[in-house]
């Protein structure tokens, strides 16, 4: 537990001192989402229908931007060896890294998403559904993304490989996240979608750190 807090605090401090690196993901998120209406036209009837899906797809891509660096810095400067040799379990390290990634990426996406929802003229209930689905979904992106970040350590063109590995795994989150918003737009109950997302989050919390730890062990050897 102390190890978790120490690593999390270090990651947040690094993100804070890193300055602009931390906000690149959210800037990309806003920019990319703003681009779509220019491409598909501004038919006021269409934007609310496609808005939820677009915001979720762009959120997936934005979350991926900063994934590659989750373990890369520690791998390159030998910190990963020392983290492995420390009394802190690799699973705890993976959980702390994913938490830090969520706090520095997912939370910012969560804050920016309602603003984009207004841009797409989403109704009030849909904005609530968007916020709720992103609250449950973005931690899954960080947790599952950690597996990919660990697996691609030391690989050439790791960023591309990471996208190929991880994007398919993000599809369930996308389906139920966008589904919740569509449901809210159409006036259907969104409870089932949110419960499935909650289930994904619990499963990711239990399994992802363990899988990430196994991948990290491979990278160290």
């Amino acid at each position: 537990m102390i190890g978790f807090v120490l690593i999390l605090r270090r990651e947040l401090r690094l993100a804070w001192r890193g300055g602009t690196d931390a906000i690149i993901a959210v800037v990309f998120f806003v920019l990319a989402a703003v681009l779509f209406p220019f491409g598909v036209g501004t038919d006021p009837g269409m934007l609310p229908r496609i808005g939820g899906g677009i915001i979720w797809v762009v959120a997936l891509l934005a979350a991926m931007l900063s994934l590659e660096r989750m373990f890369a810095g520690d791998y390159e400067d030998g910190s990963l060896d020392l983290l492995y040799l420390s009394p802190v379990a690799l699973g705890t390290l993976a959980l702390a890294k994913a938490t830090a990634h969520w706090l520095t990426t997912g939370v910012l996406l969560l804050v920016a998403a309602p603003v984009l929802a207004l841009l797409y003229n989403l109704p009030g209930e849909a904005i609530g559904a968007l916020a709720a689905s992103m609250l449950l979904g973005t931690p899954v992106l960080s947790l599952v993304g950690g597996i990919g970040a660990a697996l691609t350590l030391g690989a050439r063109r790791g960023g591309v490989l990471l996208a190929l590995l991880i994007l398919p795994l993000y599809i369930p989150v996308l389906i139920f996240g966008a589904g919740a918003i569509d449901g809210a737009v159409a006036g259907r109950p969104i409870g089932p979608q949110l419960m499935v997302l909650g289930g994904f989050l619990l499963a990711a919390l239990a399994l992802a750190p363990w899988a990430t730890a196994a991948a990290l062990r491979q990278a160290i050897e």
Binding site: I2, G3, L6, I7, R10, R13, L14, R17, G18, G73, D74, E76, D77, G78, S79, D81, L82, L83, Y84, L85, S86, P87, V88, I220, E221
Partner: protein
Amino acid sequence: MQGLTTHNLACIRGERAVFASLDLAVKPGRALLLSGANGSGKSSLLRVLAGLLPAAEGRIAWEGEDIAGDPDAHRARTAYVGHADPLKPSLTASENLAFWGRLYGLEPQTEAALHQFSIAGLADVPTRYLSAGQKRRVNLARLAVGQNSKAGPMLWLLDEPATGLDPGAVSMLANTILAHLSNEGVAIVSTHGGRLDELLDGKADHFSISARGS
């Protein structure tokens, strides 16, 4: 035989045997200086001893007990210094040092540790602004943090620790290692000869990996 012993140790990297049937014995209070050409397996041996790499064959024992029996205890007694300096450029020297100290459950008296390597004046400087030699000193100060703590690591595995150090810093490193040895510690140090070997001479045994071949 107490201290660190290996029996018939072998390491395979990418289907190539780096070394095989290696029998080492280092008594408490002694250092082992590893020499050998580039690629002869010094780093691999240190990584195997640290538990970072699995041994393909053979066993490693501490005080006569196989380390595979209790890997956590082995990690707790090991201090490893590799090729790279695990320092974050945006953190200060003392922040970097304090993080590693706390993570290992040591008392992070960073000022004393930095003082031991004559870089106390750089404690509040982000390591981005330090030279290669200064970064190495901060990295080596981790050893001093362990030394100044109760129940610090007893087994030091140092992979070419003198790289990039000026002669003054090499003596500081040698003094730190000698203090560790006089405390019944064990140190295994890979070197390419030079001043560190001379300074440790009375307390050290030599072992050349390349002489064995594989």
